[in-house]
């Protein structure tokens, strides 16, 4: 299936290659570079490319291209999903997915890739299985390793690989047994010029951090499961129980994982936490324009809006911005033409405002279209859909774990058109 993998940095240098079948010359990437050239922005490179003898399927993540070569028909999503898993695993192992870190740990990365695929077919992609085979590097371990000569590679078949629950290894032990769940909801919305909501929906995710001894069997129930419209689960969740009782029943993986993703049914009205008053205009005469943005709270369910941030992709013609912000800082990146206004906490008494003038490239025509604003925000301790976990029970083990649920609302794809 997957024949080869090339890791390519932003500048277009191949800095790692791995072949699972016979070797394919890296010149195959030239077709990709051609497409990259044509696309201008790296995001715009088509994920699937055809060359005379190969097919190139790539993802762009963290400023790196993961380019895989396949020779025969294969579901493209299969490859794309796998490449993202590779990126996830690297991130999981080294904290982030960057060229320098991969270069520093090239042997571990290589060993990982070797384990993840056999003959191009995924073999082990579960992070805990991989971690048993190849231990992630830590400072302590590297010191120990140099002293004792022991290695990072496990010599036993990870138990998870064989069991029917590959996501959990046997013999987990903790002195503090704890299970924390974060219910994070994101508001996706498009608000038009006049302030009416064109489109809004809530997507949620439950992130778990479970450190429990043994083989606990957890079940989580919700106060209002009817809110959940569409869900997807970590493989550990028993689907039958969900179907019959709307309860999540699962033997959790060890450590951090995403328990479920959900979509809140569209019948429920989505509350938009903030409103934006904006006025951006470019003058017909003279190379300048004006910008005036005010943000105020709308429906915040009694909580404060934090980490408020406005990002604007300015038209190419905008040279610089001369603005004053009543709260927070703004910056304008000349190269990418992105204006970022970092506001922080929203104070309902004194609404933050950003105003000033924009200077345009002289001679360039007035931009046709006003840029749209992307809003980022956070509201702690509330799930905007009203979803609540009613109880979390544990069976199968004797001890009493610490349990905790945290709620957080964020702006997802929150766009205000101007």
């Amino acid at each position: 299936m997957i024949h080869s993998l090339f890791l390519i940095n932003h500048a277009g240098d191949i800095f790692l290659e791995k072949h699972w079948k016979s070797v394919i010359s890296r010149s195959v990437c030239d077709y990709f570079f051609e497409a990259k050239e044509k696309a201008v922005e790296p995001e715009n490179v088509p994920p699937v490319l055809q060359t005379p003898h190969h097919y190139l399927i790539s993802i762009y993540r963290d400023k790196l291209f993961f380019l895989s070569v396949v020779q025969t028909e294969v579901p493209p999503l299969f490859v794309i999903e796998f490449l993202h898993r590779v990126a996830d695993t690297i991130q999981d192992y080294f904290g982030e997915c960057s060229e320098s870190l991969i270069n520093d740990n090239v042997v571990t990365v290589y060993e990982l890739l070797e384990e993840m695929l056999d003959n191009g077919f995924p073999l082990a992609t579960e992070s805990n299985v991989l971690k048993e085979m190849i231990r992630p590097p830590t400072i302590l371990r590297s010191v120990v390793n140099t002293l004792t000569g022991s290695s990072n590679v496990g010599d036993k078949l990870p138990s998870g690989q064989l069991s029917s629950i590959p996501w959990r290894r046997a013999g987990v032990k903790y002195t503090n047994n704890e299970a924390y769940f974060d219910v994070i909801e994101e508001i996706d919305a498009i608000v038009d010029k006049s302030g009416t909501t064109v489109f809004a929906e809530i997507q949620g995710v439950i992130e778990a951090s479970v450190r429990l001894t043994g083989m606990p069997d957890l079940s989580m129930t919700f106060m209002n499961p009817s809110l959940l419209d569409d869900v997807s689960f970590h493989p550990c969740v028993r689907f039958k129980r969900w179907e019959s009782e709307r309860a999540l029943s699962f033997i959790p993986p060890d450590g951090n994982f995403t328990l479920m993703n959900y979509h809140v049914s569209s019948q429920n009205l989505v509350t938009i936490p903030v409103y934006v008053k904006q006025n951006i205009c470019f003058f017909e005469t003279g190379p300048c324009g004006r910008l005036d943005i005010t943000i105020g709270p709308k429906q915040t369910m009694g909580k404060t809006v934090e980490a408020l941030m406005v990002t604007i992709h300015m038209p190419k013609a905008v040279l610089s911005a001369n603005l004053t912000a009543t709260q927070g800082n703004y910056s304008y990146d000349l190269a990418t033409k992105v204006l970022v206004w970092d506001i922080g906490k929203l104070n309902p008494q004194k609404l933050p405002n950003l105003r000033g003038s924009l200077s345009l490239q002289s001679g360039a025509p007035k931009p046709e279209d006003n840029p749209s604003l992307n809003i980022d925000l956070k509201i702690q301790q509330v799930a905007i859909s009203g979803l609540k976990v009613s109880r979390l029970e544990m069976n199968g083990e004797k001890y009493k774990p610490f349990k905790g649920v945290k709620y957080l609302t964020k702006a997802g794809n929150f766009q205000v058109r101007t």
Binding site: L77, D118, Q161
Partner: protein
């Protein structure tokens, strides 16, 4: 000065070269001395290689040292080199020595190296083989597995035999991990040496039988790679794969589902009901099946999904909730290609969910949605807003979303979509804005209501500042005008005005073409435009020049007075143009339009040639033709056939034999399935015969029937005779085996062995089955003479089962009407099934695994139920739901129906058309004095009502009556089904309202299961009432008679005398309905109903109360 300087420099360079050469001769390294520039002058490559070599030298030393840590360090550096794509092959000898190292990490790195370079250094690679061979015998499964992995990855043809041997051994390994590895190794060996195919297929066949979820995905992958056409290997494993699917790891799921998609398309008939062709013979076949071929059970039905087909769909559905996007997409394409049309929409929600995922995932999913939304726009319409474009989306995502929005546009939502498009047109991304204009054009042609709005919107865009936007608008307007040119001369004039400002050649050309085409609508402007063009002709682009020539020619033909000179001028300019294309065209046009002495016959037709009405262009989606590819595939994504793409075959017209999927030890469904394959031959002439014989006197019918019966069952008889011989050895079970034999027409061998097997293994049930045997025996004996009277040939004892059934009707003479003739044969069919299943009766103590097997199985259970009832108390046969209708209801009175009267009853049999339907029989009688023609069912309501209609009755003579059967899906509600009963002249609105008890079908279970199920259905699911029973009703017999008269349930054997239990399931959803009547003192009783359908429970309670309380 300059010269002197350059000569100096060249001298210096020369000197340096000399120095270098001498240095090389002296074997010195000059590394520190020459600066970079000079290095570039010398042979760049060789020097780098030199350093490289030096580096490799020290690596070699490290590898050959005794220190483990040094070796490891060296190997890590080597792997670093490999990862950078640098050549490290000359280290091979040094590396390969370490293959037997004890250090596991070192060993692994050596493996990495070996796999990478073995192909280049085949001889040396062979040195390592023995190590792997030894490791293959290691007690540690991990080591065995990885040894096989590496061994099979070494692409050296010489070791093919060793690999093959290793694979064969590993395929039989105890560890599933090793078996999984061997499945992977199969593919590697196959790509190395395709000659081994046959041998490898054997291994695949063996591994396919593996029950481990770990192996399933990998072996199916191997199957797909090595022998995707050997679908026959899958048959026996099909059900297992379906059932394992949920537990297989996600990557395996993708592979298995894709394979099963192909499998389903070759093995099942199409669920996409086109209706007509199937329905044609339907009713006749239905009757046929009653009378002659008892085998004719499934095939005669219009379309019943193969239970295996259903199994696949049911078992894949939960995977839509997978976190793996590839799995979700794969299930979606399975539903798209394999599921009945009305079920496809369950995948939409999940697909839309994937749009939240990574950009690349969005890209693929949107492509697939685009293809899907062309064919079925309805299913994505509710999610329209999810396709709204965000300014941060990548361009290819934007265009795909636009494509989908355009596909989804209809009269209802077009205004919303156009408003959305307005924002897009203003986008900074000009390519996207242009695409939006195209999309508006498409909407305008597709939805005629908005054509004008769109046109005026586009005309506004003509004054846009951006050139690409204007150009695109012109092109689209041109296309739109072409579809309806009559009322739009204003727009053409407007465009003529804009002409001076437009510079994009495509747009200019489009305007010119429009002028020429519709020059009669703008007679004043067109010549003026031509005049302007004559001025600038030489400076224009080719495409504009061509259109100018075209315009000139057309004007010359329509308005030669004004334009003659202009045209000649332009033609002269064109004659000397640089482009030969334009010269050619000019010459051609001149010959065509300008009359001269040489001009040929064409001249007369110039007008017709140039001014012919042109068909309007069709604006259609670029995804129009993508549906030729299977969704979710690479080929679909690229819109070209990728290497190794396997076409999805069309549905077979006739389903291949389903029995191939049967496995030795199985649930009831499979036992029953084999009867299907043979049904085709059921003679149509006979069926017609039968059909009419219904109207004849019953005796005749019966006679002919039973004679046919016996003749058709002759083969059975012979089969069962041999059976009897064999069963003589164990005489006490003769009836048991006799039954099974006669039931299993398919293959006597199977039925022969099976009962025996059971006998050996299960002693206890055998005793139980003895009493039923005794009953049926007595039946046989008692009724034998009757049967003989009616049919002369049915004398053989082996014909027992048909005969005894035949003689049932006399046992219920009071109910005998004409319709009984029909209900009886049906009972036969049923009994046939029952009998074949008799050996399964001993399954019923543990039915928990049976009910969930499939949809069909529930109806089968009811069959079983009927059987067990008849076995337990023969008296029950009278009231047992399977035998005859209880009540007949009026559907249409002959006064209102102008002579046509209709009655209906519920035959209480599983509906043959669809398991979720309730079977209804309708008796149509013509009480008028003229014959009625074309009796059929017309409109129905509620609109979504799923009725299986009977075939149109061509003619019904006066005083004749006919019975037809229908299936109605009441969806477990007592809401009446309204429909129109139509004759040639009239239409009568009628309705069938089912009693709640008719929405059930009997379910068999033991007492223990009953109480277990009851335990699950407490609280809200329980409805109960205390009633005072009429004294006449207190006997067991009376109670079951009353209960069964009200609802179609099965009696559950009870150990207590005072408690009576009945169990049933709702027809549509299969929800369990448990009825329990507990007698208390002084003729009171507690009536309890447990079911999750609480409305149904209360209605049922009311219905039940009445007959029990009344005497």
């Amino acid at each position: 000065m300059d010269v002197g300087f350059s000569s100096l420099r060249s001298e210096a360079v020369g000197a340096m070269r000399m120095a270098l050469v001498s240095a090389e001769n002296l074997q010195l390294t000059l590394k520190p001395e020459p600066s970079q520039e000079e290095q570039a002058l010398t042979h760049n490559k060789s020097s780098i290689k030199e350093t490289h070599k030096a580096g490799n030298e020290d690596l070699k030393e490290m590898l050959e040292s005794n220190k483990e840590s040094l070796k490891l360090e060296a190997m890590k550096r080597v792997v670093g080199l490999i990862s950078k794509g640098k050549n490290a092959s000359e280290l091979f000898p040094a590396v390969v020595k370490n293959v037997a190292s004890k250090n596991i990490e070192l060993k692994k790195l050596v493996y990495v190296y070996l796999v990478r370079y073995a192909e280049e250094q085949q001889d040396l690679a062979l040195l390592s083989i023995s190590t792997f061979q030894r490791a293959l015998k290691d007690p540690n499964q991990f080591i065995r597995g990885s040894a096989l992995r590496v061994l099979s990855s070494i692409r050296v043809p010489i070791i093919v035999p060793i690999m093959l041997l290793a694979i064969k051994e590993a395929a039989a390994d105890l560890s599933p991990y090793v078996r999984k590895t061997s499945a992977h190794a199969i593919q590697k060996l196959y790509s190395l040496d395709p000659e081994q195919k046959e041998q490898l297929i054997e291994v695949i066949e063996k591994l396919l039988k593996d029950k481990s979820t770990l192996v399933a995905g990998s072996v199916v992958m191997a199957f797909e790679e090595v022998c995707p056409d050997r679908i026959d290997l899958i048959h026996k494993n099909y059900r297992k794969l379906c059932n394992l699917l949920v537990d297989v790891e996600e990557w395996g799921q993708v592979v298995i589902i894709s394979m099963l998609t192909r499998y389903a398309r070759t093995q099942f008939t199409s669920p996409w009901k086109e209706g007509a062709t199937f329905d044609e013979n339907n009713d006749k076949a239905f009757y046929d099946s009653d009378s002659e071929d008892k085998k004719d059970t499934t095939e005669a039905k219009p379309y019943i999904m193969d239970p295996d087909h259903r199994l696949l769909l049911r078992n894949t559905k939960p995977l839509l909730q997978s976190r793996n996007t590839a799995v979700v997409m794969c299930v979606a394409q399975l539903y798209w290609h394999v599921a009945p049309t009305q079920e496809v929409n369950i995948v939409t929600k999940s697909l839309v969910r994937l749009l939240r995922s990574h950009r690349e995932v969005q890209y693929i999913v949107l492509q697939n949605i685009a293809t899907m939304s062309i064919q079925r726009k309805g299913i994505f319409e509710p999610y329209m807003k999810s396709f709204y474009v965000r300014s941060t989306d990548a361009t290819h995502i934007k265009t795909l979303k636009l494509e989908i929005l355009t596909n989804l546009a209809n009269e209802a939502n077009i205004s919303t979509i156009l408003r959305e498009f307005q924002t897009y047109v203003k986008s900074q991304d000009k390519a996207f804005a242009a695409a939006t204009i195209q999309a508006i054009g498409r909407c305008a042609t597709n939805i005629t209501d908005v054509t004008d709005t769109c046109l005026s919107g586009l005309v506004l865009l003509l004054s846009n500042r951006d050139e690409t936007v204007v150009a695109e608008s012109v092109v689209v307007i041109k296309k739109l005008l072409q579809t309806q040119p009559t009322q739009h001369s204003e727009i053409i004039k407007h465009m003529a005005k804009l002409f001076d400002n437009i510079t994009v050649s495509m747009a200019r050309a489009s305007i010119l073409w429009l002028m020429g085409e519709y020059c009669d609508r703008v007679p004043k402007i067109a010549p003026d435009v031509l005049r302007k063009m004559a001025k600038t002709f030489t400076a224009e682009e080719d495409i504009v020049k061509l259109q100018t020539v075209n315009l000139a020619a057309k004007l010359y033909l329509t308005n030669s007075k004004q334009t003659k000179l202009l045209t000649q001028y332009i033609l002269n300019l064109g004659k000397y143009d640089q482009s030969y294309d334009i010269r050619d065209r000019t010459r051609f046009i001149r010959q065509l339009i300008v009359p001269n002495e040489k001009s040929g016959a064409l001249n007369k037709y110039a007008r017709r040639i140039l001014l012919a009405p042109k068909p309007a262009p069709v604006l259609e989606s670029s995804f129009k033709d993508r549906d030729r590819f299977q969704l979710g595939t690479l080929s679909h994504s690229l819109n070209t056939k990728a290497a190794g793409y396997q076409e999805l075959s069309d549905w077979p017209a006739v389903a291949p034999d389903q029995s191939v999927r049967n496995v030795e030890v199985i649930e009831p469904v499979q036992e029953w399935a084999p009867s299907v394959g043979k049904t085709k031959k059921s003679g149509k002439p006979k069926s017609a015969d039968k059909f009419y014989s219904d109207d004849e006197e019953e005796k005749e019918a019966e006679g002919s029937e039973s004679s046919k019966d016996s003749s058709s069952s002759s083969s059975e008889e012979s089969g069962s005779e041999s059976e009897e011989e064999s069963s003589e050895e164990s005489e006490k079970t003769s009836s048991d085996s006799g039954k099974s034999s006669s039931g299993s027409e398919k293959s006597s061998s199977e039925s022969e062995s099976e009962p025996k097997k059971k006998k050996k293994t299960k002693k206890a049930p055998q005793k139980k089955s003895k009493s039923p045997a005794a009953f049926s025996d007595s039946d046989e004996n008692g009724n034998g003479p009757v049967a003989q009277a009616s049919s002369s040939s049915a004398e053989s004892s082996s014909g027992s089962e048909t005969d005894s059934e035949d003689s049932d009707p006399p046992a219920t003479p009071q109910k005998k009407k004409k319709k009984d003739v029909k209900s009886k044969p049906k009972a036969e069919v049923k009994s046939k099934v029952e009998v074949s299943l008799l050996d399964l009766v001993d399954f019923s103590p543990a039915p928990t695994n049976a009910p969930k097997s499939s949809v069909i199985s529930s109806s089968l259970l009811s069959d079983l139920e009927g059987l067990s009832l008849s076995n337990i108390s023969s008296t029950m046969q009278v009231t047992t739901p399977s035998f005859g209708p209880v009540k007949t209801y009026e559907l249409l009175h002959h006064m209102t129906g102008k002579g046509l009267s209709a009655k209906y009853h519920f035959p209480r049999q599983p509906c043959l058309y669809e398991p979720s339907m309730v079977a209804v029989q309708v008796i149509l009688t013509n009480s008028s004095d003229h014959s009625l023609e074309e009796i059929h069912i017309g409109e129905r309501s509620p609109a979504g009502l799923n009725i299986h209609c009977f075939n149109t009755i061509e003619r019904l003579e006066p005083e004749a009556s006919v019975t037809v059967s229908m299936g109605i899906d009441f969806s477990d509600s007592t809401q009446a089904a309204h429909f129109q009963l139509c004759t040639k002249e009239d239409q009568f609105s009628v309705s069938i309202q089912p009693a709640v008890g008719e929405l059930l079908m009997p379910s068999s279970m033991t007492e223990q299961d009953y109480s277990k199920e009851q335990g699950k259905l407490l609280g809200m699911n329980e409805t109960s009432a205390t009633i005072t029973m009429a004294t006449a009703n207190t006997s067991r017999l009376a109670i079951s008679k009353q209960v069964l008269s009200v609802c179609n349930v099965g009696e559950v054997p009870s150990s207590q005398n005072t408690v009576h239990r009945f169990a049933g399931r709702t027809v549509n959803s299969g929800a369990l309905v448990l009825v329990c009547l507990e007698l208390k003192e002084s003729s009171t009783a507690l009536l309890t109903i447990n079911t999750e359908k609480s409305v149904m429970a209360s209605m049922l309670l009311r219905d039940l109360k009445q007959p029990l309380v009344q005497a």
